[in-house]
Every structure is written in C-alpha cells, then in structure tokens.
Amino acid sequence: MAHPTETSAVRSDPPAERGGLRESLTVLRSSKTAMVGLAMVSFWVLVALFSLVSTANPYAQDGSAPNAPPSATHWLGTDDLGRDLLARVIHGSRTILILSPLSVLSAVVVGSALGLVAGYRGGIVDEVVMRLLDAIMAFPTILLYLIIIAALGASPANVVLAITIGGVPGIARLVRSLALDIRTRDYIYAAELAGENSFYIMFVEILINARGPVIVDSMLRIGYAVFSIGALGFLGLGLPPPSPDWGSMIARGRSFLQITPWAVLWPALAIASLVVGLNLLADGLHEESVRYQ
C-alpha cells in the first residue's frame, strides 16, 4: 500500500488546488453503495424542497373520501379525516429533514468540543467530563427522550434538544478516542513548539484530522434521529397535531389498519427509505475512505 501513495506523488504536477468537495464526490462516485444511498437521500431532499412550492394542503379534509385507497384525485389515498396522504407525506418530509440534521449537528458541536477537551487535556478534566457523559449514557435513549420531552413539553425545539443530549456522549467518546491518537502525532508537538495555544491545537490541528470518522458517524446518527423523531411522533411527543408528522401519521393510521393499510404504509415506507438511504451513504463513505487511507 505504501508504493502507490509514493508513486502517485511522482505524477509530475498534481492539480495544485483540488477542492475538498470535488474530491469527496469522486470518493462517492466510486462506491455503488454510497451512490444508491445518495440517490435515496437526494430524493427526500428534493421532496422536501418541493413541499415549499407545492400548493397541496396537508390539512384540507375531503369529507367525501375518508380512508380512501389511492385514486386519481388522491394519488396515495387519504387518512381517516380525508386528508390527502401524498400532501401529508411531502410536508412531513420537510420537518424531519430539518429537525434530524439540526439535532445531529448540535450534538456534533457539543460532543466534539467535550471530546476534544477530554482527549487533549487528559487527567482530571478527562475523568470528570467522561464520567458525566457516562451518567447520561446509563439511561436508555428512548427513556431519556421521554423524560426530557415530558419535562419540557412537546415542541420541535425540545425534540432537537432531546436528541442532542442523547447523542453527545457517543460523539464525545468517538472524538476523544481520535484526539487521544492524534495528539501524539509529531505535528501536534510541532504546533506546541510554535507556541500555539491549546484552543488552536484542539479545534484546528486535531479536529480537522478527526473529520472523516465524525462525518461517517453523523450520517448514521441522522438516520437514528429520523427514527427517533418518528418514534416520538408515534408516541405523541413529537410535533403537536395536526402537523403532518410521519410518526404521528403512523400512530393515527394504526387504528384503521384493518380497513386500510395506506395511511400506515406510506409514512412507514418514507421513514424506512430515508434511514436506509442514510445508512447506505454512511457505509459507502466509510468503505471508500478506509480503502484510500
């Protein structure tokens, strides 16, 4: 494996500035898994964008056709109140595609900061931070969500908060282990010998080299977040009704499962395909990034 890297540098003039984005696209393209995942995720992103311009009203009730099967007027059928399922699935995608990345992003920010400090500083700081996070980890995730939302009330902001708190310990552990490894590299010593302060060393020199695993981990976490938001919605702790929320749609449709499966089927498929897509994307990225190391 050492030789190809050695020789690739020989290739007289590598393009001086190779954009990080284009590079990651090349990595993506070489993995079929990642491409399939990307297609599935992009589909839902497009759907969410479409919801911004769509005129279909997810709240409009068609009294003439409750629990209708797919037809020309209601492509995916209607729910028990005669609301168009297509419009509800489309509008539901918007909330989930905003809330899940947002909650993961905030978890990554908090988790990375804690992990970096614990890993780079070590000693007593490490002990205190990690034991506190262990305490959070001791709760089963769903129970933790329930406690937080029950205490603070069901709202989009509290859903994000709950998922953030649930995600921080795992991310902090990951970043800490990466920081523990990276801080022993010579370039960190070199930075210390340039009199750099620890903030610069942690958040510039170390964090940038921990990005690969953190990105892959975040992809998976967005998938879990989609699940969690769905589960919270199902339990009635997500967005307050009548918002089109995939989880609450399933919960509502469940009562009529024997009459019509459609009201459960579409949101369930939506959650499944988004999560599978995100997982495939993460797997593909991981495989490819490992292969090129």
């Binding site: 190809p4 020989v10 500035e17 010579d186 940038i208």
Partner: protein, 696 residues
C-alpha cells in the same frame, strides 16, 4: 526427511529466468518486476538489496504465490527444478508449509499473541508432519536451542509479549526452520531490531546456513547487513536486476552506477564531514508505469549519455570480470577502470572553537521519570507503590554554540526523552536546563515565545511530522506569522524562500503532505523548524525512516542550512556511522544515563566505554574489506522501571571488573580533550583496548 534432500545437489533451489510480475490496478496491469534472473543453491545466501519500491519483496512473494492482485506474466520461476506456476492451491500450501520458510520484519505480526510459544511451534510439526505432540515438543526445544535461545523450556511456556524483540525473531526463525525447509526467505528480518540485537541475529543466520545447508534469500535495504550475511548480492532498481555478483565484487568493485551511488550515500564508519562528502542520488525511483524509455537508471545517473536513452541495456558481464558478475550498464567497463575514487570534499561546518566555554545549552542532572500505571488492586485505590520509569537519570551535558552534538544509543535508552525534555514537551522531574542563559526547566507552554522561537525541532516520522489537512505553504507560513518574523504580505515570499533553501520549488507551496514523498516531507519539516532562524535545532532521528539515497540528501541539506545560519544542532540517531559523520561532539547513552561523552573522533577510537565498544562492533559495515571485532552483548536492555544498581551496564558488560560494578555508580574518568568515560575500569587499561574496526 523432507523432499529437499531428494533433489540432486547441482539443481538450484530457486531459479528465476527473466521473471516478470504484474500487479492489477485500476489503471490496468503494472509491471512491478521485469526481467529478473537469479538462482540460489543449497547453503548459499543471496542478498537482494535496493531502495523501497524496487520490487524486492514482490520477488519473495512470487516464490510462495502470495502476490494478492499480482501474477507472474513472463519468464520462468523454478523451485527445485519444477515450475511454480499452475500448481494447485493444495500443493502450494504444502510447499509453503514444508519447503519454504519465511521470516518477516516484525516478529510480533508473525506470532499469535494469544498462544504460547510452545503451542505455536509444535503446531507446525503436528500439522505438516503429523508428528505426535510430545515428540513435537522435544523437537521444538531442540530447535530453540539451535537458535541460541536461552532457557528454551521456559520460553515454550511463555506468550510472545513476554519475550524480547530479538528473542521473538529467534522464535520466528526457529519456526521457519522446523520443517527443515529447502529455502528460507528473510524479508528485512532485523530492520526492527536494535543494532546489538541485530548483530546477534545476523550471526545466527550465518550459523544456520552452515548447520542446515538451506538456501537463503535475504532481502534488505541495509547495505551493511547484506554485506555481512550474503554470499552473492543482487541489486534491484525499479523492478529490474541491475547488478549481481559476489559480495566482494559488488561492494568493492561495483559495475553499475546505481550500486556505486548507493554505496556512496552511506557514510563509512569513521568518516566525518570534514574528510568526506555524501553524494546523494538525485531524483527518486520511478513508478513502474512511468519508466524511462532507455536505461531505467538513466535519469538519475551521473554518467548518463545519449546512448543510454535509446534502448534498454541487457544484463551482461564485462571484460576482465568473472562470469558471474553481471551488470546492466552500457559503460560498466568505464566504471571499473576509473575506480572513480573522488577526492574527498569537506562538506560540513566544523565546530568553530571546540571546547570553547561558550555553551548555548546546559543541562545539569536532568531527571525525567514517567509514572507507570500499575495494575494491582492496591494501586488502583492509591495505596500501592508508585513505580517510575527512569527515562532520564542524572544527565548532564553542555552543548557548545555552533556545534553539532550527536546522541547515540539503542532504543529505550532515553535519547528521544532527552530531546523532548529539552524542548519542553516532557516535564522534567528534577534538575536544571538553561538555554542562552535563561532557565528553561518548564514545559513549552510556560516558556516565553522568544525562547520557543530560538529552539526548534525536526521530527523522526515523515508521515506524522506534517498535519495532513493543511498545505505545505500554510504550515510553514503559520510559523512566520506566529512569531511575527515577517509582515503579513511578505509571508508567502518568505515561505517560498524557505522552500527554496530546502530545494523544493514553488509548486510545493499549495501541495498537501500526502502528495509528497518521505524525503520531501522531511525537507518541509526542516524548513518549518528553520523558519524562525532558531539558535538551536533538535533533530530526533531525522533520516532513520528514509531510503539511503534520500538520507544523504537530507543530511547534506541539514549541514548546508546549519552552515548558513550558524545553527547549533542536537542530532539524535541510532545509526553510529551517521552520528560519527555528522557530529562534532557525541554522547553515548544507555538506560537513561550518559556513559561516554566527548569529541566525535575520540568516541570512535580507544579508549572506549565497554558499551560503546560493543555498539561499534555490532554496526553492519557495507565494506567486506573491513575487519570488525566480535563482541556480542547477551540479553536485552533491562527495564528502566527497575534499572540495575551501580553501573547500569553491568548486567551485559563483557568487561565487568567485579562487585564494584554492581554496587557503585561509575565515576567519570577524564581522558583529556573533554572526553569523559563513566566506568570503573582504569583509564590506562581502557587505552590498551585495540580499535574495533580495522582495515584488512
């Protein structure tokens, strides 16, 4: 017992004729080895030497069909007279198990960490020869004895991590020999070992050849090692055999400019920068898919001319040489005639005033202890004893201004700890260090920025010396901005000037570290260290992970920059020849203590400290005409957790005088000219010791 004995003696064990091996890649097949011919007979050792990426290991893997995505695409490869291609997987497995033994660089990778040595060894016999367990055990103990393993019965009961690196390699060698193989392939088996351990393993290999009458293929990048173990040498360059012949022929009368170049890249033990010049081979090994049209060495060859570019030269013998000394050079005769012994060019800056009282750095009784985490229950609750690793114990040294101060010693002797303690990356436990008259006994974070600026460091590992995420230009420029050396708008210019000083052009400014070779990364590391024009630069093994041809270039570069800036260098290395070549003053360290210190030429000549003497006699020298004293140290370096009492070297010292060595710390003996030896033996007696290395 094996089929090896059934083959007539005159059939070579391995024979390759115009062998070509290709690797399948995304860009199509790449010919990694071309036109490689060699043979190895019983009881003969063929040394294969060349830089990394020259196809040495590929050839070895081809013999055991472990090529992965590679395959033989041309020529013949015969094992005991039979073609190796087209054999079934089962047949190959039997061949690997019974007829070919392999020993690799890292013994820890070859041994299963969760099985006892005895189980692993006897498995070989039980599986391949269907021997019953008790009988196999007896054979294994016998074999461990033959590889000079102390206390073999006890070793059989141990796990691999419980024995030292040298012993692990002995176990691997014993395992390879258990089936009495016809061929033993050794791929850099001593590269990971310390020089004293390496010497003992090399002795063992030479011994085995006589005892077992096997054919040995010995692969190494180290010319000295090859010279010591081989009968015949094959020099590989970019996948081709460029020269082959007997050791004496190849090393003393090379017929290919590449071989000659390699030999001139390494400093001969005893030469210094005042008396000779290291000539690096310019450029680097071409990748197999971008070979030059004519002679593959032509772009780097000092004697290349027009005809070299036209066609690929054939391997041939030249007039006046034996039929078995072959070279792939059109002008081999010229090389032979000229002798090409170049006039010595003094290369380095000589220490201006040796022994001048002006010391830039003074370390007094420096102690650096690491707390060892003990796993006992008592210490978990904070009640147990707190063991310390005494990485540095009472080290005192003075580095004169403008000098190169070398530090040598085996791994684990505290060289790197010393460097880290001085620059402040490791807090010191006790003692005092002052630099430019300021006390710097505090970690780097608490030092004044102006002092940090004056003391910089060049690191060992080219792969971790640069942050992989930032461009070369940014990383050097950051230094200039940090220390305010230049105005912001001049930083780019300043970086380009620094790059130019380390012989890299401006295209490197925006490159990322992974687009550079090891040598180039090391150059950038040097540029970064010298960016602020420091007074003192610590170099921690700056060349030890580079190929020899690159090594010479980096050493020359360091000397040049040092001369221009008048920098003081603290140069740490385990390679005694390099330290001798490079340094004005040298300190020899053993287990956290200095055992000998003085001017370089005095260290390498009697009187010696017994440890220095042993080190010198262990250095592999790429010159078969040199006679070396045979001193082998027994055992391994003791643990610094519980160092021996008295003189720390007494457990391994071949010149022990008696109980005093165990009881009292050795006093410093002044041998004049700032040369001090810490030993109980009287200086008159030490002076009587003859030199370790003599020309034959």
């Amino acid at each position: 017992m094996t089929s090896g004995s059934r083959i007539p003696i005159d059939v070579p064990v391995v024979q390759a004729h115009r062998l070509a091996i290709a690797y399948e890649t995304r860009r199509g097949d790449v010919l990694a080895v071309r036109d490689m011919s060699f043979e190895i007979r019983r009881g003969e050792t063929l040394g294969i030497v060349g830089e990394s990426g020259c196809g040495k290991s590929t050839v070895a893997f081809a013999i055991v069909s472990f090529l992965g995505n590679g395959r033989i695409v041309g020529g013949d490869l015969l094992f005991q007279g039979r073609d190796l291609r087209g054999r079934s997987e089962q047949e190959l497995r039997r061949l690997r198990g019974c007829q070919v033994g392999m020993v690799y660089q890292d013994p820890m990778q070859a041994l299963n960490p969760s099985l006892r040595i005895g189980e692993q060894l006897s498995e070989v016999l039980v599986v391949h020869q269907r021997m019953d367990a008790p009988k196999a055990r007896v054979r294994c103990i016998d074999m461990l004895q033959r590889v000079y393993m102390p206390d073999p019965e006890a070793v059989m009961q141990r796990y691999p991590h419980q024995i030292s690196g040298g012993q692990q390699q002995r176990v691997v060698i014993a395992m390879a020999l258990l089936n009495n193989p016809a061929l033993l392939i050794m791929d850099e088996p001593t590269t990971a070992l310390d020089v004293t351990v390496e010497a003992a393993v090399l002795d063992l290999i030479a011994d085995l050849r006589r005892q077992f009458d096997t054919a040995i293929m010995y692969i190494s990048h180290n010319l000295g090692v090859i010279a010591r173990v081989s009968d015949r040498v094959a020099v590989m360059y970019a996948g081709e055999l460029v020269e082959s012949g007997s050791v004496a022929d190849v090393f003393l009368r090379p017929l290919h400019p590449y071989t000659e170049g390699l030999l001139r890249c390494v400093p001969k033990l005893g030469t210094s920068k005042e008396s000779s010049y290291l000539s690096a081979i310019p450029g680097r090994v071409p990748s197999p898919d971008r070979l030059p049209p004519g002679c593959i060495f032509e772009p780097r060859c000092p004697m290349a001319r027009g005809t070299c570019r036209q066609s690929r030269p054939e391997l041939r013998h030249s007039a006046g040489r034996g039929a078995r000394h072959l070279s792939r050079c059109l002008f081999a005769e010229e090389l032979a005639e000229e002798g090409r012994e170049q006039a010595p060019v003094p290369a380095g800056a000589v220490c201006p005033e040796l022994g001048s009282p002006e010391a830039i750095l003074n370390a007094r009784s420096v102690k650096t202890y690491y707390r060892q985490e003990s796993s006992s229950v008592l210490s978990l609750v904070g009640l147990g004893p707190k063991p310390y690793v005494k990485a540095l114990d009472d080290v005192t040294l003075h580095v004169p201004q403008g000098c190169t101060f070398g530090i040598v010693g085996e791994s684990g002797c505290g060289k790197s700890t010393l460097a880290k303690t001085i620059v402040g990356l490791q807090p010191l436990t006790d003692g005092k260090i002052d630099f430019l008259g300021f006390d710097i006994s505090v970690p780097v974070g608490k030092r004044d920025l102006m002092l940090i600026k004056e003391m910089q460091m060049v690191f060992q590992n080219p792969d971790s010396t640069l942050n992989p995420s930032f461009s070369v230009g940014y990383q050097i420029g950051r230094r200039l901005r940090r220390f305010g050396t230049l105005r912001r708008d001049q930083v780019r210019e300043g970086v380009l000037r620094l790059l130019d000083e380390v012989k890299l052009d401006e295209r490197y400014f925006s490159r990322l570290p992974r687009q550079l070779s090891g040598g180039e990364k090391q150059r950038v590391g040097i540029a970064r260290a010298f960016a602020t024009r420091p007074k003192l630069v610590l170099c921690d093994e700056p060349v030890s992970s580079l190929d020899v041809s690159v090594q010479a270039a980096v050493l020359n570069l360091l000397m040049e920059i040092q001369r221009e800036n008048g920098t003081t260098l603290l140069f740490i290395a385990h390679d005694l020849s390099v330290v001798r070549y490079f340094s004005d003053r040298v300190a020899v360290m053993y287990l956290g203590k200095i055992c000998e210190i003085g001017p370089a030429e005095a260290i390498y000549a009697p009187p010696y400290h017994p440890y220095t003497e042993a080190l010198l006699s262990a250095v592999p020298i790429p010159d078969p005409s040199v006679e070396q004293k045979h001193i082998r140290l027994s055992g391994a370096v003791p643990s610094a957790l519980n160092p021996p009492s008295g003189c720390r070297f007494h457990t391994r010292c071949p010149r022990r005088v008696g109980a005093i060595c165990e009881q009292e710390e050795p006093p410093p003996i002044d041998c004049g000219d700032g040369h001090t030896i810490y030993c109980h033996i009287a200086v008159e007696e030490l002076r009587l010791v003859e030199a370790v290395i003599t020309a034959r």
